[in-house]
């Protein structure tokens, strides 16, 4: 276990140093929020600056969870890093464990940075417990994409993992209503996406302090699907 923790610590450190991570998971949502979010008009029952804060926090967390591990796992399998680790006392599942924990940890700053901007720069107000509940809910919901990242990382080469990630990333971001609020047909399609529902959990907490079971159900469904994909690709890769 000690060796797994050591590997995990270093894995977290290197993600925090990584430029791609900083751009996609921290800088981009912050910049978008500052550029677009400053409006007090009502959207889905909350002020737009709160609405867009939740959208950008969800976006940063999900982008971080999805992008880092998928490309990293694919690359590290290709370069032989995962083989190297098999020549140490690291337990069999230690590598994947480290990657999952790294995602859990490195999605936290995405949420916190955007929330801090909302609370200070834009003066978003809500009860203290709602801030905490929102942060935890968005963070947990973005975890759906941790297992999808593992699935992609074990299924694709570094070259093909990138487009595979983008194929998931854009629909999830756009149809999840994270970049702009959805209306009409797009909204009807979007509500089946986990990103949409994660964001909705946030606005629900602000408006009536409740968590919708429908949202949890849809996110849970995706979680099960992605976890199954992760297990299948992981197993297939081990047999090679």
């Amino acid at each position: 276990m000690n060796s797994t923790i050591t590997l995990t610590k270093l894995d977290v450190l290197r993600v925090l140093r990584n430029t791609r991570y900083l751009i996609f998971a921290i800088a981009m949502p912050s910049v978008l929020y500052i550029a677009i979010g400053n409006s007090t008009k009502q959207t889905n029952g909350v002020e737009f600056k709160a609405y867009y804060m939740l959208a950008m926090a969800t976006y940063g967390a999900f982008a971080g969870a999805l992008m880092n591990n998928s490309i990293r796992i694919a690359t590290e399998r290709k370069t032989g890093w995962t083989r190297q680790l098999r020549l140490t006392s690291l337990p069999g599942g230690g590598y994947v464990f480290s990657k999952v924990v790294t995602s859990l940890v490195t999605t936290i700053p995405s949420v916190l940075v955007v929330f801090a901007l909302g609370g200070t720069v834009f003066g978003v107000h809500m009860d203290a417990w709602k801030w905490v509940a929102n942060a935890v809910v968005l963070w947990l919901a973005s975890m759906v994409f941790v297992s999808l990242a593992v699935a992609i990382g074990y299924r694709f080469d570094p070259e093909t993992a990138q487009p595979a990630v983008m194929l998931v990333f854009f629909p999830m971001a756009i149809l999840g209503g994270l970049w702009f609020p959805l209306e009409g047909t797009l909204d009807k399609i979007g509500k089946w996406f986990p990103t949409y529902q994660a964001h909705k959990l946030g606005t629900d907490i602000i408006t009536d302090g409740k968590i919708s079971m429908e949202s949890v159900g849809i996110i849970g469904g995706w979680a099960v699907l992605f976890a199954a994909l992760a297990v299948v690709s992981y197993r297939a890769a081990q047999d090679q």
Binding site: N2, L10, R14, Q84, R86
Partner: protein, 349 residues
């Protein structure tokens, strides 16, 4: 005595050699595998399935290595070296036969820190420093030597704060080397360890390896640099087409391959007269100059003189391990119908 020229063996890469003779047979020395062998292969086979059909990468390989030996593992490309090393390290499983490390499985040996390895296909981390990378490896082994010591031995103490992914190939190779020795493991396995290193670092590398060997560690290395095998290995194992081809000291392998080159000038000599000479392995002629490869240069020379011939400019030179290696693998390929699928004589450069 050599009989009729039964088989033709071309020893030169471009295949423009003159008439050649097959020389003495050489059999792999069957090493007994007593208790306590560090590495044991018992009739190990591994077949890969490609669209063109099955490739028998390793084909009934039996060998064993004792504690404290420094062993070079040689073979042409496609001979099954990497496949063998992968099975040795437990990275892939044999289809049949038995592979044992320290009498148990590779996984057990690795878990107990008994193996330090440097893989050709071994990746490194990105976004970490050399110090962090080697430090991690120290933590992933039960009895590590100090990180500073490993960096010093690998000649990368000055690179400690550099990012691993920003290093040159040769520098990364030295990081791999530090990782291979940090565990202070009794068995060190090195796959093409000095590829990409400059002369100075290569010498430093082998000096360090020699110290490890003096500590009683078993060092197994695959290499394309046959001079390195000649200089540093007390034992050389040659495989070809997935089988053991030769096993012995460098001197024994040179001897078995016909390790002397006898050359002289002899105008107008008949080929038939040359073919009658004993102990020949290979014959080459360029006009008046004759170059013979012989397993017993004295006997060959005496026979030449006894036949009444009086050559001039006589020179007898020992052959290097490289020529010996080429000779025995070429002869083996000739014997059993060409090299294995995809195999090339890379050393023939």
């Amino acid at each position: 005595m050599v009989g009729a020229p039964a088989a033709m063996v071309s020893l030169t890469a471009k295949g423009n050699a003159g008439p050649t003779l097959k020389g003495m047979p050489h059999m792999p020395r069957q090493t007994p595998s007593p208790q306590g062998a560090v590495v044991e292969f018992e009739n190990v086979s591994k077949t890969f399935h490609s669209p063109k059909g099955p490739v028998h990468a390793v084909n009934g390989l039996t060998m064993s290595m004792q504690a404290g030996q420094t062993i070079a593992f040689l073979g042409p490309n496609g001979a099954g070296k990497s496949t063998s090393l992968n099975m040795l390290l437990g990275l892939s499983r044999p289809d049949s036969g038995r592979v044992a490390l320290f009498g148990g499985t590779a996984a057990e040996a690795i878990k107990h820190g008994k193996v330090g390895a440097m893989l050709q296909s071994g990746g490194l981390m990105s976004d970490v420093t050399v110090q962090e990378q080697v430090q991690l490896w120290a933590k992933l082994h039960p009895r590590p030597i100090p990180v500073s010591e490993a960096l010093k031995r690998a000649n990368i103490a000055d690179l400690a704060d550099r990012r691993v992914d920003k290093l040159s190939g040769g520098q990364q190779q030295r990081v791999q080397f530090a990782m291979a020795i940090i565990g202070d493991s009794p068995l060190i396995v090195l796959d093409e360890p000095t590829t990409g290193m400059d002369v100075e670092n290569r010498q430093a590398f082998w000096a360090t390896m020699r110290e490890r060997a003096l500590e009683g560690k078993t060092v197994l290395f695959a290499t394309h640099y046959l001079e390195e095998a000649d200089q540093f290995a007390e034992r050389v194992i040659v495989i070809n087409k997935g089988r053991l081809l030769a096993d012995g000291t460098s001197a024994e392998i040179k001897a078995s391959a016909g390790a002397k080159r006898l050359s002289f000038r002899l105008p107008g000599v008949q080929d038939a007269a040359l073919y009658r000479l004993p102990n020949l392995v290979h014959v080459e002629r360029q006009a008046d100059v004759v170059r013979l490869q012989t397993s017993d240069s004295d006997a060959t020379l005496y026979a030449l003189l006894d036949a009444g011939l009086r050559p001039t400019d006589i020179e007898i030179q020992p052959l290097g391990l490289e020529q010996a290696f080429l000779a025995i693998t070429a002869e083996d390929n000739n014997h059993s119908g060409g090299p294995a699928d995809g195999a090339t004589l890379e050393a023939a450069r």
